[in-house]
Structures are given as C-alpha cells and as structure tokens.
Symmetry: C2
Subunit: 314 residues, 2 copies
C-alpha cells in the first residue's frame, strides 16, 4: 500500500496504518507526516476530559452524531491511559460508541500509552496530524482517566470540553481545582440527577476567578437522552469562532507547537540515555552505587550529561 | 550560619535553610548534599497518598504521634501540587497538624511545585536527603492531590501507605485502578461511615490480582478518633521489616535512585534547552513556523538536538 497516496485519497486503511506506525515509533511514519505536514492545520481539534464516570464517551458519541448531521467528517482518538505498573488498559465504556464504527464519515481509534518513555503524546499528536491530513473536519481527543493526561490534552486541542457530573461532592473539589483552568467549554452531564444546578453554580463561581476575554459557558446535558446536546454544540462552535475571530487560534497553536517541540526533544534525549539494554544496564549500575551511598545522584547525573554532550556517544 | 556544621548538630534552622536552597535551585545546596550524602540512607521513608478528602493529614498526624511515643524523630514533607496554570497552591487541611509544630522531635515542611520545568521531585527528593542527614528516623511524604504526584511519590518512599475512604463510589474505580499498584499498606479511613467493610473487600479483591510475595494489609481506621492507628502502625512496621529481611529494601532504593538519576539528567537537559529567555524565544519562533505549517515539529526537534549535542552550545 502506498500510504501517502492512500491517505491523500481518503483511504481509511492508509490512515489507520500510518497511526499504527506512529504507535510503534517507526521512523518512516515521521518521514511521511513531515512530507505531508503542509496538509495539516485545517481540522478543528476538540479535547474532551473530566473525571471517570462523567459520561464522556456517551457525550462524544452524541456530539459526533450532531456533527454528522452537518455532514462534517470526524476523527475520534480515545486515549486510554495505561498503568505504568501492570501494563493493563482501562477500556471503560468505549463500547457505547459502536454504532459510529459503521459510519464511513467517522474514524475511531483507541490509543494506549506505550513504553516506559511515555509514548502517549508523541503517538497521539501524530495521530491528530494523520487524521488532519486524511481530511477530518473535526478531531475529538477523548481521555479516560484523571491526571496528567487531562492536562496534557491541552497540548493538542484547539478547544477543551470539560465534562462534570452532579454529586461528585466536596471531596473532589481539589481535582476540579486542578483541571478547571483547562476547560474552554463546560458540560454538566447527567443533569437529571440531583444537584445539577448546584454543580453548575459551583463551576460558574470557580470560573469567576477567570478574567480572560472568553468566559467558558456551562451547559447542562443528559447525553444518554440526547438532551442539551444542541446547546452544548452551539457553545463549542462559539468558542471555535471566538478563537478564529480573536486571533487566539494561531496563538494557541503556537503554544501547543512549543510544547510539542520540547516534548520531542526531551523524548529523543531520553532515548539516547536509556534507549537500549546496554544503556539501561549502565544506569542501573550507577543507581546501585547511589543506593549504596558510594556516590550521590547529582554527581552521577552531571557525568552522564557531560558524556552525552561532549562525546556525543549516547 | 555554617549549614554543614548546623545540620550535623541537629540544628533545625540549618535543615530548613538547606531545603529552601534546594527549592530555589541553589547549586550550593547540591554541593552540600553531595558532600554529606554518605550520611543518608538511615531514615525510613513512608509515602502517604490517596484521593482528596481521605483524611491523609489527620492520619499522618496520628501516625507521627504514635512514633513520637517510641521517641522516634520524624520529618514530614507535605507536597501541595501547584496548578501549572494559576500558580495557586491547594493547602487543604494542613492546619490540623499544628500541634506537631511545637514538638522539637518533629520537622514539618510544606512544599509546592516550582517553575515550569516541574521542580517538584528534585526539591522533594532533596528535602528527603536533608532530613535524612539531619537525623530523622522516619520521613513521611504526604501528597494532597490525585494524579501524577501520587505515582511519583513512589520514587522517594520505601513504603507507600494508600489511604481510601468508604463511599467514593464506582465512579472513581478508575482512579483506584491507576494507583492501587503503588500501595504497600492500605488504610480505609473514616471507617465509621457506611460502606467501610465493602470498601475493604473491594480493595482486597483488587489486591488478589497482585501475586508478589508481600500481600498489602488493609486496615480500617478512624484517624479523627485515633481508632485503629496501632494496627495500622504495626502493619507499616511489618512492611518495613519485610523489606529489610527480604533484601527488597535495597532493591527498591536502587530502582528509586535510577528514577532520580534519569529525572536529574532530564531536568538538566531541559534547563539547557529552555533555561533562559533567549532560548525560550528561539523555541517560540520555531513554534510559530510549525503552527504556520512552514516546517514540521519533527524536523525542528532534530535540528535542536543536533545543535545541542554537536556544538555543545545549548
């Protein structure tokens, strides 16, 4: 299969193949994306995040169906954070989206984290580029867990939809505080439950501290029953329009590119430091000396850096 | 003040000063810790983590008082994750520990995250070394939030206490799944609430998948009323004894040193990449070209690395 030709001719299999190559860190994938990079930048990228159980998948499903009624093509990248300990992946309720799989205008891909160097963002950002080249009008990046991946999603999205639910209680106020700042648009899902109004007010109160030009709207929805989806959809569009009209879109994309460049450099340097068994063994032996208090970690780190930079042999 | 003399003579102010120097990334702090590094490795380091509202501070307070009855000296490092966006810090219920502040055998320090390079673990691991040199028998590292910091804590602790509470519900099952693997000892706090037994059973069921030699014990406690603290204390001691007897302690410390070395190298290289305004400006301009699709991020990252390694000028 000629992947370049395939992807430019909207061949789903070519796009899928290229994403798989990105996931396995195939240098040929990088070469292809570099070559086609001028075809990117057209898709609108929307990040969807929020605590587990907030119903993000169901909500994504409804929003995608709404976009399909406008005849927009959509890519969905569902990010399943993998535990660094077990290698197991939390699949959650991804199954609910099954009926979208048969829609030729929708491309769905689940991605896990890979490897100890944390291949997540490189492969995810690569997949966004692939779907952009492929011609998706909209690309959704949906995360499952709570944590760093929710913050990292900002790196790739133009607009971030934060999904909350009533009744999470004061206990997770701190979770909210940590991720509130990344939301451009808010949904209170499962709004037929008790406490939806209170949750909305709480979110709005926290947003009062936000003094930027864009005031994130908060929409109550019941994704399961398709309630409030049109309002939410309108609010997402409003944010995307605001980004374009205000010049913030390019500003945001410059910021995102900055983070991506730094991430790529960091990843490459780590590859040089611990990218093969021999180098890992060297670090392990140094760590033994540190743990036995023969040498301190600062001295070890300095000598590794000097070796790397002066001798160019890492 | 001569810090080296001070710290070896158990002067609290010297220890506090050295930690402050670590926080502000003062190279002199590194030199001092390097010089005194052979004095480390004696303290037992215990990480305490769990979801917000689990009562970690209260539980830490009670465990520390239990240790004080054995006349052990204790250091407490309370890690408040700072939002990368607002710079604001979540202080939580740290105030509850106030009566320990007047105990000369207890050293308490709150630490936030610093700077865009994420100074948390370097300063935190530095503080652990300082308190170890200073002579603390036990060092507690307690975190506030949920997320990466909970996993990162593993890097510094010999033994990790995971604090859960009844009634968090199925919704946060995923949070649990992500951090269950880091717990060596479990507490179900607020066990006078409904559902404590169920929570204990749930935890034990998840732990059934763990086939390692050490089976983490689960203890019900009501920290606020000092109930179950002795049992929990015994279980923590059992784990520490197991680590020593099995040879796992040194194994764990080698692993932790490995992570620390890699973190230090990574941090230093990032400092070289974006450590001053001029370099940040260079990256920003490259990011503008990437956002405008004049060049792709992979090409940019490669040229930055070549410059860094070949010319040694970053």
């Amino acid at each position: 299969m000629n992947i370049i030709e395939g992807i430019l001719n909207k061949d789903k299999r070519a796009a899928a193949r290229l994403i798989t190559m990105m996931e396995s860190n195939d240098p040929e994938a990088i070469r292809i994306i570099s070559k086609l990079y001028s075809h990117t930048g057209r898709a609108k990228v929307i990040g969807i995040t929020g605590p587990p159980g907030a119903g993000k998948s169901t909500l994504t499903d409804k929003l995608v169906k709404r976009l399909r009624r406008e005849n927009k093509s959509v890519g969905i990248i569902a990010v399943d954070p993998t535990s660094p300990f077990t290698g197991g992946s939390i699949l959650g309720d991804r199954v609910r989206m099954t009926d979208l799989y048969t829609d030729s205008g929708v491309f769905i891909r689940s991605m896990g984290t890979r490897g100890h160097l944390g291949g997540l963002s490189k492969a995810t950002l690569g997949a966004v580029k692939v779907l952009d080249i492929y011609g998706c009008d909209y690309i959704f990046i949906e995360t499952v867990g709570v944590g760093q991946s929710e913050v990292d999603i900002v790196k790739a999205a133009d607009s971030v939809l934060l999904v909350m639910v009533p009744g999470l209680g004061d206990d997770i106020q701190a979770i909210k505080a940590g991720i509130m700042e990344i939301g451009d648009v808010f949904a209170v899902n499962k709004a037929d439950r008790d406490g939806a109004n209170r949750t909305q007010v709480e979110i709005e109160m926290m947003l009062d501290f936000n003094h930027s030009e864009w005031k994130p709207p908060v929409t109550q929805v019941v994704a399961l029953h398709n309630k409030g989806i049109d309002d939410l959809y309108d609010n997402i569009q409003k944010h995307l329009d605001y980004l374009e009209a205000s010049g913030k879109l390019i500003e945001k994309r410059v910021q995102n590119s900055q983070l991506e460049i730094i991430d790529l450099v960091q990843r490459d340097l780590m590859e040089r430091l611990v990218g093969n068994k021999e180098k890992q063994e060297e670090i392990y032996q140094l760590a033994e000396q540190v743990a036995n208090r023969q040498v301190d970690p600062y001295t070890v780190s300095n000598s590794l850096i000097n070796k790397m930079i002066l001798n160019n042999n890492l």
